[in-house]
Amino acid sequence: MDFKKLLNEKEFVFLDGAMGTMLQAAGLDAGENSEMLNLTRPELIESINRGYIEAGSDIFYCNTFGANRYKLKAVGKTPAEIIPVAIEIANRAKASASRKAYCALDIGSIGQLLEPNGTLSFDEAYDIFKEMIIAGKGADCIVIETMTDLLEAKAALLAAKENSGLPVLVTMTFEENMRTFTGCCIESMAMTLGGLGADAIGINCSLGPRELYPAVEKLCSLTNLPVIIKPNAGLPDPVTNKYNVLPDEFSQLLKAMIPLGIKIVGGCCGTSPDYIKATVKAFEGEKNQAKEKELPPAVCSASSAVIIDCPRIIGERINPTGKKRFKQALQEHDLDYICNQAIEQIDAGAEILDVNVGLPGIDEKEMMISAIKAVQGICDTPLQIDSSIPEVLDAALRVYNGKPIVNSVNGEEKSLNSVLPLVAKYGTAVVGLCLDENGIPKTVEGRVAIAEKICKRADEYGIPRRDICIDCLTLTCSAEQEAAMQTIEALRICKEKLGVRTVLGVSNISFGLPQREIVNRTFLTMALTKGLDLPIMNPNIASMTSAVRAYRLLANIDKNAQEFVANYGGETPAAAAPAVKQEDMTLGYAMSKGLKNDAAAITAKLLETNDAMEIVNGILIPELDKTGADFEKGKIFLPQLILTAGVAQSCFEVIKDYLSQHGAGGVSKGKIVICTVKGDVHDIGKNIVKVLLENYGYTVIDLGKDVDPMLVVKTAIEHDVKLVGLSALMTTTLKGMEETIKLLRENHPCKIMVGGAVLTPDYARQIGADYYAKDAKQSCDIAKEVFGQ
């Protein structure tokens, strides 16, 4: 089908109304599988399809909304058995109707959430959609609809683009707060799906046309793609399940959206051919009013968009260069460490986070994917994906939820040819470095010339200038003093001449100089006044972040100094006067009171005069023992136990840092693998156990949640682990626990401890565990028994 031609020929394109509502009107019970009707009642489906064509639908949806592998399993069918039949039915409806129409392969949400919320991986989701798209190749176009998870919509859209040449329409479902249930905002939807090459985007389901007006208004202002609106017939009554907006009102409410710039309209739940007929009639003689808009430069996660209309801080700390502790975290696959680096920078004022996990000896691709998933699971700050390997970038761009920045491309042919196609395909922003085969040009003109070359090549790929961020490169001032001004001058010219954003890593400037902070801050301020948009810097250094905020104030960006005052105007919060001053406090006191920061500070101080292991064995462990004993006696309760464990964790972090700085490895009392078993996603209990075990000096390999039994076995063998801990919360997931134990027994000699809300000692024995741990404290006792210390 020639979608562009259809759009050009018609002022408005009409879609169909609801399928489910029509089926229930025909007697289908709620909860019954509607795709089976393609096989059992094809004539009913055909008549519904035809009903919509006759009512005026230009594109109608085949009855394939839930025809995915996962949902069809319940009825014992496959997409290949259902989808081609549904398309045949649609073609029969087309052939017998009195007017021309096109049929769309209808793809709804899988019914399972993707990680980190659910257990479905991006690749699995992609594969499920791919199967549908291949089975549906006979359709005229593809519709991806009722999506609430931007990442799921992305998986479907990528599957469509990579496995079919058909036009793809994508609609998502927004609530009154203009977000989907997964938190996706309209800005993120528009820039992400637009960037990935959707042919039209829009909104369907959830609410009626009245409630959706503001969401449609917003979407129309954010995209140059044709906008689709397919609302419900109002809201359903809980008793009758009838919807409260009738066809005439529905059509008038849709008509009122014409000035917003809508192009493609239809109805969702509760609508019928009468609604479409009324809408077509109401739109007669109306002109399309969509206008071409200048879109702002921006990046996003699924739930937060950062418009680069003023300097935005890119946090540089997720990067192992020159950081021993970070390298150790990468080697140990310690994602919590990386997440903490993210949180710290966000709290300090970072608006975008650079993620670089390249380290010789680790699988950078796997690490990058894990890091992106982990960081996106705990915050909504957009990311800048930093790698020099195109395969790593490609893999990262697939799983990234939103529109990231790619860091980086440069003027070398090899780089241009491998990175720019990725940027174009995934619709991301990109950092362009002003260097090429011959290195960094000495002159301003040389750097601008490379920037121009990058821009020209990007133009050929259709990458808009707003998505290009040129880095004129900071050189070390102590080595090349004249270079600082050249960098800034090149930056100014690029920004003015090329219409790009500018980006600069600022910390390098002061290498080898005293008082680096002063040099960095001054250089940053100089660059900001010449048009630096994206400083890559350490936001944890207060004077750097405050320089950006002060600039935003002085440049009249931060109106009424709101942001500045919010950050610096308040009185320093009067910390509740501690009963004991830090200098008089013992580590034990700080631990029992849950004073994390004090405990960390005391630990750091103790390290100046004491051996690390002395602190661990002489203070931390005895204090934990005492807390554990009090817990067992019922003197204190779980929250206090966890509180002390959490404080101890911060002390150990200080010690770990110290040891890695001083080149000494920690002494581990033994390795333990722990996880929440397959099928289960509740991991708070497991995480508490992990912290306690680590407190006692064990190396814990945490495989996370919903863990495949085979991975547990493989890890246990690989690290020759003596003790494995398994957690499960529900009766339904004990199966996963039992399987894991069985597989471990067959492959690796070790002790197994199990825990979780529904477990009992009896049941633990029955499924073959060696130990039942009733709480986190007991898991430590078990470890002591197994490792003999």
């Binding site: 019970d29 709620a30 909860g31 019954e32 949400s109 019914g111 399972q112 959430l113 980190p116 919320n117 659910g118 257990t119 009722t146 609430t148 479902t173 609530e175 707060n177 977000r179 989907t180 249930f181 997964t182 938190g183 959830s206 809980p238 399940n241 739940c269 919590d336 997440c339 903490n340 949180i343 699971g377 705990i378 915050c379 509740a576 849950g594 994390k596 309760f637 779980l638 929250p639 206090q640 966890i642 509180l643 464990a645 959490g646 099928g679 289960d680 996603v681 509740h682 708070i684 995480n687 508490i688 912290v691 919360l729 529900m730 009766t731 339904t732 997931t733 996963g736 529904v758 009992t760």
Partner: protein, 219 residues
């Protein structure tokens, strides 16, 4: 919708006997405020006519038959029921993940507060239902997994309510719901007064191994 988390209830979930010390309580209250501000809870329900059969109770116009003796007892004397699904939303899961990365004890507190939040959503709906259905008596909330009502009915309930579309709630093959702080429940409606006490221990799947009972108290 706005929610007010019952701090006392959350503190009980945490396993405190009595009141936490002032510092802890402040930390809990501060986190509760963050949740109240950030969460996007949702609740949906439909009212169905009931048909009792030998196997259990059928919801008319759906493919659901609730099996077991306990649900029969629960709905005895009721001609209709409210089928509901409530959730604290995905933001709760994100905040729990984030809190436990920063500080495990804050993670634990957040988890318990989020449980109390979804309870608050349900309580709010019950109040609303009482206003909407003044001539009806209501039973307490019975959920899949209680007594002999199998958990396997969970996906059907979510399907019939169209919960994924309307509340963003789905369930894994292991029948765990996502977002994790979500509940489904059945409230019987009767024209005659019905027993409406809290659920007892006899039908609880934690009976015999629950921490509350060991301490001589009820949840």
């Amino acid at each position: 919708m706005e929610i007010k988390i019952d701090i006392d209830e959350a503190v009980r979930y945490m396993g405190y006997r009595g009141v936490p010390d002032e510092e802890q309580l402040q930390k809990i209250k501060k986190q509760a405020e963050l949740l109240e501000k950030s969460l996007k809870p949702a609740v949906i329900y439909r009212i169905f006519d009931l048909d009792e059969s030998f196997y259990g109770v059928k919801l008319k116009l759906t493919n659901i038959t609730f099996e077991g003796e306990d649900i029969k007892r629960h709905l005895a004397g009721c001609d209709k029921c409210v089928l509901l699904c409530a959730t604290a939303g995905l933001k709760a899961d994100e905040l729990i993940r984030r809190a436990q990365t920063e500080d495990i004890s804050l993670g634990f507190i957040t988890d318990c507060l989020a449980s109390a939040a979804v309870e608050a959503v349900c309580n709010e709906l019950e109040r609303e239902l009482k206003d909407k259905l003044p001539d009806r008596h209501m039973t307490w909330r019975f959920s899949p997994g209680y007594g002999d009502l199998p958990l396997s009915v969970q996906p059907q309930i979510l399907d019939v309510l169209n919960a994924q579309k309307r509340a963003g709630v789905s369930c894994l093959e292991s029948l765990l719901m996502v977002p994790s702080k979500s509940v489904t429940a059945i409230i019987g409606l009767s024209r005659e007064p019905v027993e409406n006490k809290r659920r007892g221990c006899s039908i609880c799947n934690m009976a015999g191994r629950c921490d509350f009972r060991k301490r001589g108290i009820h949840c």
